[in-house]
Symmetry: C2
Subunit: 329 residues, 2 copies
């Protein structure tokens, strides 16, 4: 779920993708070794060795597709950037489970139109894939190239082997938790969606040293992804609008299209930042943790029992809002 928000006119989230996914999820049955199936940022499986009673590795698996004309434009993205993004989007999903992998493996499947299945495009595309893979210690173990009469479509499937940390799910947010976010939000379409750094390092540090109750990466937009946490955890949230970290790009976009910068931070897709909840005491420690000093981290609200997302604005007035985010179809 990584598509850019292109159509600013329709801020109401279309339910088609989520409706379809829920319909499927109801029909999936898992054996006990599937600790987390469809419905979180990655699946998690306990792998038992054949003939051994002793267990076990955890295997985290995720897949994501980027499509030309939706997730990037060939006119404004270089082949290197397209390759980079194709893997980085899935790395962000791995990060959202709490990071911390002893190994990460990738399978890349690219569908290319005939005129681009040539070295001038495929070589730099691979170089982008290889660059991000080396940077995050990912081994590319397989792939597939097929021909298409349509847009470039690249699917990256990653799996990570754990190193003893627990997965952090979407469904663990507790009443009283603080809500935190890494980075600055909004306006990703101007550049960041092609060059963002998957927050694997931050996620592992948080998971290793703090009690993180829930986590997700922001791909559909802050409010939409917050809603995923809230729905899975059966809670609500109160956001402090003055605390939302707004990116310079969101301000820039706001000048161009007259949509408030705060709304860009709320609803633009593809920030690929971490949104997570933790007890307030830990939240304060996280804010002052020197190991995380290079990454902006903000406390933006609180988890509460009452369902829904509420905003507390600069006048200290509270109002309820609808989750807004990328319209998938």
């Amino acid at each position: 779920m990584t598509s850019l928000q292109k159509d600013k006119k329709s801020l109401i989230m279309d339910e088609t993708e989520f409706g379809y996914i829920k319909w499927i999820q109801k029909r999936l049955k898992y054996k006990p070794e599937v600790i987390i199936g469809s419905g979180d940022d990655t699946a998690v499986i306990k792998i038992k060795s054949f003939g051994s009673k002793q267990n076990n590795s955890l295997l985290y698996a995720t897949t994501d597709t980027i499509v030309e004309g939706i997730d990037f434009h060939i006119s404004s993205a270089t082949p290197e950037q397209i390759g980079y993004k194709s893997v980085a989007v899935s790395l962000s999903d791995l990060a959202a489970m709490g990071g911390g992998f002893s190994k990460i493996y990738a399978l890349i499947s690219a569908s290319l139109p005939k005129n681009l299945a040539k070295p001038h495009f495929t070589h730099p595309l691979f170089q982008g894939i290889n660059y991000v893979s080396k940077r995050f210690n990912v081994q590319i173990i397989g792939g597939d190239i097929s021909s298409t009469r349509g847009p470039i479509t690249i699917t990256s499937t990653l799996f990570g082997i754990d190193k003893g940390l627990k997965p952090i799910r979407r469904n663990g947010a507790c009443e009283g938790d603080a809500l935190l976010v890494t980075g600055k939000l909004g306006g990703s379409i101007l550049n960041k969606h092609l060059s963002f750094t998957p927050r694997l390092r931050e996620a592992e540090l948080l998971n290793r040293h703090y009690k993180i109750n829930s986590m997700i990466d922001i791909s559909d937009g802050l409010l939409a992804d917050l809603d995923h946490i809230l729905e899975a955890s059966n809670v609500g949230a109160l956001l402090d609008t003055l605390s939302i970290p707004i990116s310079p790009e969101a301000y820039k976009l706001a000048k161009q299209n007259k949509i408030k910068s705060l709304n860009h931070a709320f609803s633009d897709g593809e920030d690929f930042e971490l949104l997570f909840t933790t007890p307030i005491k830990e939240a304060v420690q996280i804010i002052h943790d020197k190991r995380l000093a290079k990454t902006p981290i903000s406390i933006i609200g609180l988890i509460r029992k009452q369902k829904g997302i509420f905003l507390c604005n600069s006048m200290r007035k509270t109002s309820r809002i609808a989750p807004q985010g990328f319209k998938h179809f």
Copy 2:
């Protein structure tokens, strides 16, 4: 690598995909736990549990993409068939490594145009995916649905956990081995490419009871995939044209398009049968193995030292031919 041969005029194999893949493979580096990397039907990885010196599971991973207009046509394939095929093509890759998995997991990534991202299409599509998954004990653990302005594109990534059998590679064919094939070949485009049975059962049986030196599934065409075995094993082959099992569909196509049925069997893509080599003595036992009686298995030739593919025809004359198969781009 699963695309149908559409253009019968160009029987000469285009090297673009293979050339590109080789260029990539040279640039990939693996750590020792990657037993088989890119270049076979699946990758194989040894998974060590965190904190344990004892090992370990083998994880087989493969990915494959089907694209509308190339691998199927929306006018002639039902949504169920498209779903079935999307998973079956990857199952065939797992089979080609020697079958035998204690668990198989799937991640499915579908890019759909807006008009098809509706229940009338998505529900039967999922039912096809679910049908083949249940039949082969595959658990669907995740996926992704994205929007596209182009053709339907579905990527299935499967991984299998071993149950104590060794992987069978492409590179183990020995001089003097017999060359065998399951099923009947050619004309898959008429129906079989949408409804074939991945040969997991046969592959496991062969791997468990016989010394199979090399194996591949036929996706690009008999000669093209044979060439993959020969090149990887650094040997050649002599085929007996009278022993090639030609499918009824190949005969039917031959009448329509005046291309010999034997050439259909040689070069049509998407048979998804197993092509393998084994010592002659074992080959004879395999042919008479009652457990395999339901599946036609034919001895079609011999592996020899001299490189290249040679045909021995009905007049007992021998001639060299070029590997022919699906033109990917």
